[in-house]
């Protein structure tokens, strides 16, 4: 019982201290990064507007099927 209490106290304490330090470290790191690091590029130039026209939907189905076929061919 004492053991369980002590494990709880130490364990929970340690988890909190560790994650609290992590909060501090992470926040500091983030601040430094956003201050000094070059701005990130606008996240990989929006990947080709898909599914614009209804025609595209059908195209995608065909595509999907082609990909499937290709994959199942590979497996044989």
């Amino acid at each position: 019982m004492t053991q369980a209490f002590s494990l709880m106290a130490v364990g929970m304490g340690f988890v909190f201290v560790f994650l609290a330090i992590l909060v501090v470290v992470t926040s500091t790191m983030s601040k430094l990064v956003n201050k000094y690091a070059p701005k990130p590029e606008p996240a990989k130039a929006a990947p080709a507007p898909v599914a614009a026209a209804p025609a595209d939907a059908q195209l995608l189905a065909v595509l999907q099927e082609a990909v499937n076929q290709y994959r199942s061919d590979k497996k044989r």
């Binding site: 494990l7 130490v10 340690f14 609290a20 330090i21 909060v23 992470t26």
Partner: protein, 441 residues
């Protein structure tokens, strides 16, 4: 004629025990839950199937060579075994159920040299490790299985939401109270004489509250391997039951006002932050808790491989081929611990009950922590995301989102809940490290 008799006396029909029938039914029920109800099927399908295999009478798939030799107890082999197991036994002595139990116990508790010697004797006599016993020793006995799952999970985890709002990490800390509270619960059960758990067993049971499968298996394999089957099944089952278990607790501890809190939109996160985060965690682990290094080390490596952008083919493999292969074997290995003699025990019931308590307590402390933080801060946190701190990624975060939507159809909490959700993984790995530090070795 003798041959046909042999076939009959060696058949399952002739040898099956009530316990084995029960366990096969239980395992088929696990398969039902996994396939029909969608309970964590990636793990529960191999676990359930492995459990059936482990209970096939006479096949000995879950037994080591020495355990198989003891099962068939040829007199000369038993004599040889009695020497290395240091059990009083004479040539020609009758072999009773008691005798077998003593041999099994001596083998189970034997040190590395004893186990090696006993297995050699059994192999000399033509016995071999069962298939599942081999899988268990390679995948779980060596601890490599849970570590590789963690590698893959790391490679699938996005720490963006956590980095955008780092104080939600504390919710992931609070929810670990479920782990330690359960240790206390097990101690109470022991004190009151209801069941008996030593402190290592109590800790291994508590980890169910960490709501993280590989962490549970890792800790159980180190602190209480004989309970591993029940602990793993409980962990994965309750993770699947999160949508049932959590909402009542969340609703009970919050008022409608709190549940409607809308949170500030998350800021975009720089790629460099994502790269530095796993390295920061690794260094903190190195400085403060070396015992958590294997689990969190592999987790951070996986995440670094994902985020660094230059080793995509390794990251892909860690997320797919590697984690899938390991999952199959890990499930079968866990299943090997579902044999009747190991699982059908009153302690299993205790594990199931305590495990559920652990989930409940963790959910509650996560929610309460969020309320406590709101007392001290201006940027309010919706306490519904506190429950996600138990981990059970991404199920618990989805539950936070759902309950949030029930109260405010415009309030999407998913991304906010992902912060404490992944922090909960780190939190329970840290808790695992502390418990192994204290009780292992």
């Amino acid at each position: 004629m003798e041959n046909i008799l042999n076939l009959w006396t060696g058949s399952g029909f002739y040898n099956i025990t009530g316990g084995q029938i029960t366990m096969i039914v239980v395992c088929l029920f696990l398969l039902y839950l996994a396939i029909k109800k969608g309970f964590e099927p990636l793990l529960l399908v191999p676990i359930g199937f492995g459990g059936v295999l482990a209970n096939i009478p006479e096949a000995g798939l879950a037994l080591t060579a020495a355990e198989n030799a003891i099962h068939f107890h040829k007199p000369d082999v038993m004599l040889a075994l009695s020497e290395v197991l240091k059990i009083p036994f004479e040539a020609g002595q009758e072999i009773t159920a008691e005798t077998l139990k003593a041999f099994k116990a001596a083998y189970a508790e034997g040190n590395a040299s004893t186990v090696f010697a006993a297995d050699q004797i059994a192999k000399n006599a033509g016995y071999a490790n069962g298939m599942l016993a081999n899988f268990y020793s390679v995948i779980i006995g060596s601890t490599v299985g849970p570590l590789l799952i963690f590698l893959g999970v790391g490679a699938m985890t996005d720490f963006g939401p956590l980095l955008a709002n780092p104080r939600t990490i504390l919710l992931g800390a609070a929810a670990q109270f479920g782990i330690f509270g359960t240790v206390l619960g097990a101690a109470v059960l022991t004190m009151t004489g209801v069941m008996e758990f030593n402190i290592g067993e109590a800790a291994a049971i508590g980890i169910i509250g960490g709501a993280d499968g590989p962490t549970s298996i890792y800790v159980a394999s180190v602190l209480a391997p004989h309970l591993l089957g029940a602990i793993a099944v409980a962990a994965y089952s309750y993770m699947a039951l999160v949508p049932v278990l959590q909402p009542p607790i969340m609703n009970a501890l919050t008022n409608a006002e709190e549940r409607k809190i809308q949170m500030v939109q998350l800021r975009p996160v720089h790629q460099l932050e994502k790269i530095l985060f796993p390295i920061a965690v690794l260094i903190l682990v190195a400085l403060f808790l070396p015992d958590a290094a294997p689990l969190l080390g592999m987790f951070c490596l996986g995440n670094l491989m994902k985020e660094c952008g230059v080793v995509d083919r390794l990251s892909d493999t860690a997320q797919n081929a590697l984690i899938n292969v390991v999952t199959i074997f890990l499930g079968l290995s866990v299943g090997s611990k579902l044999s009747a003699d190991k699982f059908l025990d009153v302690t299993t019931l205790g594990i199931l009950v305590l495990g559920m308590v652990a989930f409940g307590v963790g959910t509650a402390t996560g929610v309460l922590m969020a309320k406590l933080m709101n007392v001290f801060s201006t940027n309010k946190i919706n306490p519904l995301i506190g429950s996600a701190g138990v981990s059970a990624v991404p199920m618990a975060a989805r539950v936070s989102n759902q309950v949030g939507l029930q109260n405010n159809p415009q309030n999407f909490l998913l991304m906010h809940a992902m912060g404490p959700n992944v922090a909960g993984v780190i939190g329970s790995a840290v808790a695992a490290g502390v418990m192994i530090k204290f009780l292992g070795g």
